[in-house]
Symmetry: C2
Subunit: 477 residues, 2 copies
Amino acid sequence: MRQAEQAADAWRNTQPVQRADFMEAIATEIEALGRDLIAVTMAETHLSEARLQGERTRTTGQLRMYASMLREGSWVEATIDTAQEGRPDLRKMLMPLGPVVVFGASNFPYAYSTAGGDTASALAAGCPVVVKAHPAHPRTSRIVAEAIERAIAKCQVPAHVFQHVDDAGYDTGKLLVLHPYTRAVGFTGSLSGGMALYSYAQQRPDPIPVFAEMGSVNPVIVLPEALSKHGEAIARTCAASVTLGVGQFCTNPGLILGIDCAGLRRFVEVMGQEVAQVAAAPMLHDGILRSYSEKRSRALAAKGVFEAGSAPNEDTEHLANATIAWVSGEDFLRTPHLHEEVFGPFSLIVLCRDATQMQDILQSLGGQLTCSIWAEPTDLQIHTSLLALAQRKAGRIILNGVPTGVTVAAAMMHGGPFPATTDSRFTAVGIHAVRRWVRPVCFQNFHEAFLPEALKNRNTLGIWRLINGQWNKEDVT
Amino acid sequence: MRQAEQAADAWRNTQPVQRADFMEAIATEIEALGRDLIAVTMAETHLSEARLQGERTRTTGQLRMYASMLREGSWVEATIDTAQEGRPDLRKMLMPLGPVVVFGASNFPYAYSTAGGDTASALAAGCPVVVKAHPAHPRTSRIVAEAIERAIAKCQVPAHVFQHVDDAGYDTGKLLVLHPYTRAVGFTGSLSGGMALYSYAQQRPDPIPVFAEMGSVNPVIVLPEALSKHGEAIARTCAASVTLGVGQFCTNPGLILGIDCAGLRRFVEVMGQEVAQVAAAPMLHDGILRSYSEKRSRALAAKGVFEAGSAPNEDTEHLANATIAWVSGEDFLRTPHLHEEVFGPFSLIVLCRDATQMQDILQSLGGQLTCSIWAEPTDLQIHTSLLALAQRKAGRIILNGVPTGVTVAAAMMHGGPFPATTDSRFTAVGIHAVRRWVRPVCFQNFHEAFLPEALKNRNTLGIWRLINGQWNKEDVT
């Protein structure tokens, strides 16, 4: 952390184009690792080659997206109010917080680990990063860290803008969060893990922001008209989403709500049949499999919960079998643990008595990353309050689609009210993820020569600026 | 809080222009209170008529500024990525968090109290507000609350978008922060008060954001060339800033750093003489005066601290006398309590051994709202690391000026690293203060008809939007 602190001033003063070169060099170095990296990660995580190829492309894509953002430059939100009667010259822009500690995620060994979205956005913001490798894929993390170190050498950026801590101990994580030089923390993982880090950060003499993305049950609501018209197709699409990647996505749909009717009973049946055809598969690591088995069993043992379908599993010690269960709205509402995430290929369908109960159930849930609604236009015209409630519960509302598959785009929101994350005001995906690591700094009455480039009169960077209330790319005159 | 929660959906769905009308109606109602309001507040706070007239103008100006922001509309940060190969249609905008609890500040009975900046920005964001009146000016708060209630009636907005809690008890504040329907908290006041609320918020089953602005010592650095050229004038300007409004501003300059030399000794002398001519004056309330007297005495009693000048005070039970003291850099560094704010008309001048010690002292301070630097261009060329450090310590850097006088403008940053505030990423002043109370919500694959107006294809609001990476005011085609 001392080394990160020492690198902080140099890194914050690095020209945006140099930071962009560095982000791109990391992407190139990761690509140069070729199939060797994939093979190591397959062995460590049991994820498929195709999945890992895709995830690596996403990871290098993210790095290049932040490079583009830096080259374009407007992300600093330069805001200028020139001197007027009774008002001094004021110029404000976003600046880096300082050293950021990133905890790698087990379920995204590339895209949310060592060179993943948190690292990339923090580096782009101008913050040195210290990554705590996830103990489930230490070799992958080390290989990617070495790729970043090669990029550091090639780009001649400060040596300690990136550091890698390869230690499985919880104490190391705690020390990193408590360290006086740590200015912010990024985490993707379980509620218990995220809340532990969050509480360490609050215990500091100087609390620091922790952005922890802690998962969610991602409710899927199937409205009557859509159910009636396309029930079986929706059931098949949902089954594919639940079982995608052995259910190990934070946007996995763990809860499906519908109003009880023959169509919904058929929906339950189809989803059950679909998942029964999915081969049991290994999960990321033993701890996750154990947790899945326990939570799945506990859910199935709850009063009023019935299994709708389940993949055969001869080897429960090593494989997870996808499972669909169903329960009545009454039983769901009276069983709090059914509201919690079962991380893995499990989904619970709730047969609600009526629209009011469906609304009550959505209201009873904590904050969510996503809420999906399958609806025909007539459904949406009728269920307006449900749509309003979904917007208060979740960061992303999906119409006629499944929550898995988080597109990396500026308009993506990957975040949501607690307990989905510790701060609903930020996204972990897309260019706006950089805002977690920056703060505004205002320069009052400054000499032109001593202002940051983005705030000088001449707009040499060609960026969008808010000048006296107007967005433009003009010089200040 | 239940009433606020019930008003939340209606208020979030109110058209921006209606919200703007309401903000303006509040401003008009407050103006209509005329001198009667000022008289009540003078009696409650001992602030002067001129000061209160100015503060009321600032308050109504803030309300109208947020109205303008709503009418212009781009603040929602509409971001649209249209469907492409492998990417669904994604549309994101900022939406209100829900009910916000605002704690009135004692030192700004209008501008940071009942209808002040926190209330105005939260209402503009679309959040219902519950104000806890500051017990030091309950009548002022009640009168302003009634003005807001008249505006509610005239504008036919939901009755409980604003509610006023007139209760001096700490327990009431705690209950408001802990209430399940509370979604965020705004506070301006002491470190102990702000941290109490912050810790309640962290103890909730679902932690919520608390933006607490808790003051700061606002270091002023006088660099050698500036001292040599304009030392006496700077001393007089600083003395006026320290004593302005009996020192009861969160941006009051409580610490002045210079490198020891004959010029700095003369600077100390002039500041001492200046404040000795300022009549002792009543503070906002007894508690603040008591705290000032205690902290001032403690500072003056510290080893190596010498009084440079002090206003005569015959009535220490009711009046505060402005005081300037000085201390060596060594003694300052070894006396932690001298680093803390003495809220009131007090400032400590630190005679630093050299530039390195001045840097060490700035480094030793906690986060600050402001850092002021008096410098000639040659000073800035020499002391580059000091300028860099100031940017890491404070939210606003002022060149050749004093920190008091916080202009309400988009480019203003009123905030800073802990303990100046609980979250350095937000400002409490200017249009961007609204960001404390909003979060992004993404709509994926939505029917045009069910999208919020700001995200529809046709840009009927005429707002700036980021469409497929380009800022423009176009329709989506």
